[in-house]
């Protein structure tokens, strides 16, 4: 037990763990994470099984990676705790140095003599140190005086704040991981959805996409209303970077898309032999309309936003974006189907109409319209405030440690025959160069005093 404690209080273990965590994290950026087994099989062949066995396919959530983080946290905790009491005593119950040797071993040191008595030398020195915001502690023995001047003592505890902050961040991460919840919701305008694990509903009142003049998307905006006990409680327009928070839930604008099942299209019907002939029809999927002045009905069967032919030579969609919109239409004369086929909005000359009976008609898909839905991510993350607390402590700690380093000057004054000798040495937790120049200035100004 004792040796285990010793192991976990060593910085060497922390360094070994840091190296292991760093290199395993690196592996996770080289091997794609959380893909399907078939993708791994295609990319890595035989190795795929091995990757799967050691959970390298989901490395950051694997048990062994969590175990590494846990060991690291334990190491940080024990390292910090075992060093804390000594540091605390040093900060709040400092001992005055009474042996010259302990000052002479310091890197930053100086000594000088004055033709004054002990009392005067001490007062001048104290005044100089106080003007530089040093806090003083002193003790006098016969012809000797011992001074301890310190400032920015908080800087000593910087690393403790950093470590505490890290532990809190790790704890917050675990709470997020186990207590967190997220779900993608798709809402069309007017839809109301029950929020899972919550006592309220969410309604999408309005969804709009704003564009820049060049046609790129500027923003997606969803007007959401929270409904509790059938009563609307609050409304907010959410957009990317501006989510809605309510009762621990946060709702993000995460995606958008079209509901292609009820697409309406505009079709122009022409006759090859009669250039003056033009009929425009507007039709929604599933409808059948008569073509004015002709004994024919047009039926709109299916709409595909991004048309391709798959391996089986069937019509399919590559994506849900309207990259290659296509409509499947049929022409009927009473109960007889006379033609059917695909027309494309981007390739008006390339229609695949199969005619059962001779027809002179040609079709062009001119426009299409479908209702857009808003993709909203609902998230509940009980760890997030803990994370912010940890980050705050982490930054306070870093600022203390690096920008507010503690400084300490130890001085022994000794009077012999009316003259006083001063031996001073200093320690700074960081940034020794700046401290050295301050130390030199203090000693120089004492030297110059008459």
């Amino acid at each position: 037990m004792k040796s285990l404690l010793k192991l976990f209080s060593s910085v060497k273990l922390a360094i070994v763990l840091l190296i292991i965590i760093t290199s395993t994290s690196l592996i996770g950026t080289l091997i794609p994470q959380q893909r399907s087994p078939s993708e791994y099989a295609a990319q890595f062949g035989q190795l795929a099984n091995l990757l799967n066995r050691f959970q390298i396919t989901d490395l950051y959530h694997s048990l062994w990676f969590l175990a590494l983080l846990f060991l690291f946290a334990l190491n940080i905790l024990i390292c910090t705790l075992t060093r804390f009491p000594a540091k605390f005593r040093k900060a709040f119950q400092p001992k005055l140095i009474k042996d010259k040797k302990n000052i002479l071993v310091l890197k930053i040191k100086d000594s000088l003599g004055k033709n004054w008595g002990l009392a005067k030398t001490k007062e001048e020195l104290k005044r100089e140190l106080s003007s530089r915001h040093y806090r003083l502690k002193e003790e006098v023995e016969e012809n000797k005086a011992f001074l301890l001047a310190r400032k920015r003592t908080l800087g000593l505890f910087g690393s403790d704040f950093v470590h505490l902050g890290l532990l809190i961040i790790l704890a917050g991460g675990i709470i997020s991981g186990f207590g967190g919840f997220r779900k993608n919701l798709t809402l069309s305008e007017g839809d109301t959805l029950d929020i899972p694990n919550a006592e309220f509903k969410l309604r999408l009142d309005k969804f709009e996409t704003e564009y820049y003049p060049d046609g790129n998307v500027r923003d997606w905006k969803s007007t959401l209303t929270v409904i509790e006990n059938e009563k609307p409680i609050l409304s907010k327009i959410i957009e990317v970077n501006h989510p809605l928070s309510y009762r621990g839930f946060v709702f993000y604008q995460s995606s958008y898309g079209w509901d292609w099942t009820n697409t309406s299209v505009g079709i122009w019907v022409k006759k090859r032999k009669d250039p003056s002939f033009l009929r425009k029809i507007d039709i929604t999927v599933g409808e059948k309309v008569s073509l004015e002045g002709e004994n024919i009905q047009i039926s709109f069967i299916q709409f595909i936003p991004d048309f391709i032919l798959n391996e089986k030579n069937e019509a399919a969609t590559r994506s849900l974006q309207p990259r290659n919109p296509a409509a499947f239409i049929e022409g009927w004369q009473e109960e007889e189907k006379i033609f059917s086929g695909w027309i494309f909005s981007q390739f008006p000359d390339f229609s695949r109409i199969h005619s059962e009976k001779e027809t002179d008609l040609s079709f062009e898909l001119k426009n299409f319209k479908a209702s857009q839905y808003s993709g909203i991510e609902a998230a509940k993350d009980p760890g997030v405030n803990i994370i912010w607390l940890g980050c705050t402590l982490l930054m306070i700690g870093l600022a203390c440690a690096f920008y507010w380093p503690s400084r300490e000057i130890k001085i022994i004054l000794e009077e012999t025959q009316g003259k006083t000798g001063v031996i001073a040495g200093g320690i700074a937790s960081k940034n020794r160069e700046d401290f050295q120049s301050e130390f030199d200035k203090i000693m120089t100004s004492l030297r110059r005093l008459r």
Binding site: V11, K12, A14, I15, L18, I19, I21, T22, S25, L26, G28, T29, L30, Q33, Y60, G173, S176, R182, Y212, D214, N216, V217, R218, D219, W220, E239, V240, N241, H242, P243, V250, Y252, Q253, S254, E377, A379, D381, V384, I387, W388, C391, L394, M395, L398, A399, F402, Y403, K430, N431, R432, E433
Partner: protein, 272 residues
């Protein structure tokens, strides 16, 4: 007059600065280094105007594509160098440092980088863009200075070991402690900008503060390498060569986080 003319003027000033710095390196005339510094500093001023110009013209932060962010990184690198030069007088690092800056400017002006300011995609429309990118890149700029002084340390150290005394005021020891100072300044900035601000923004935009996205993971790796540098140094008393190697690896990791991830690995940070 427009932003590209200002950018080009800046580039020329940096090249002239490098020219004087290198003449100083070969002739050992301190005066030439002073002129080099003046050119670098006036480059920094014009560069600042160029960045402000770009911001006003495009209406958004001047680091939303690779051209802009490279130019901004060059700017923060010069800023970091000016600060460190002002405090610690590292003239001899000037020529090598200017080479890095010129490389960044050359990359930015290469035809591979689209220059035109495009309107922001929805995810980038946030004031966190300012905070996240600028603070991170400023932190990385200090790592860049540490990178140069660490390499110079390795060279100076092997020369001093062969018996040659420290040739100038910039001894191996001093280079070692300047590297440490730069990392001590850069580390809190990088943590704040890269990790903390990044997490806050990710939470606001994507709904999760951490997703193990390659860019996130690589910034964590960079942070860990520098944490390693600090702990081996402060607690275990590492100095000199070993520390210099860790600092060099750290900057390379930062560089990979910045460039490599975009071009080699794919993820959420696909815009810049």
């Amino acid at each position: 007059m427009n932003e590209s003319i200002l950018f080009f003027t800046t580039f020329i000033l940096y090249i002239i600065s490098a020219f004087f710095y290198f003449s100083f390196l070969f002739s050992k005339k301190e005066n030439l280094a002073r002129i080099g510094f003046k050119f670098a500093f006036s480059g920094l001023l014009i560069h600042t105007v160029a960045l402000i110009w770009r911001t006003v013209e495009s209406g958004h932060a001047p680091f939303t594509n690779m051209y802009e962010s490279l130019s901004f990184f060059a700017w923060s690198s010069i800023l970091a160098y000016v600060i460190i030069e002002f405090k610690y007088k590292i003239r001899k690092a000037g020529p090598y440092f200017m080479l890095i800056v010129i490389a960044l400017m050359a990359l930015a002006s290469s035809p591979l980088m689209p220059k035109e300011a495009t309107p922001l995609v929805p995810a980038l429309q946030s004031y966190w863009l300012w905070l996240h990118v600028s603070v991170t890149l400023l932190g990385e700029a200090f790592f860049a200075v540490a990178f140069i002084t660490s390499i110079m340390y390795l060279v100076a150290d092997s020369r001093e070991k062969k018996g040659g005394a420290a040739k100038s005021k910039l001894s191996a020891d001093k280079l070692d402690s300047i590297s440490y100072r730069c990392i001590a300044i850069g580390f809190p900035l990088f943590t704040l900008g890269g990790l903390v601000f990044g997490m806050i923004w990710a939470y606001k935009a994507w709904g999760r503060y951490w997703s193990w996205d390659p860019k996130e993971t690589w910034s964590l790796i960079t942070l860990f390498v520098f944490a390693l540098y600090l702990h081996t140094r402060v607690v275990m008393g590492w100095k000199g060569r070993r520390s210099a190697y860790v600092a060099i690896i750290g900057f390379l990791a930062a560089l990979f986080t910045y460039f490599g991830v975009n071009y080699i690995l794919s993820g959420l940070h696909s815009y810049a």
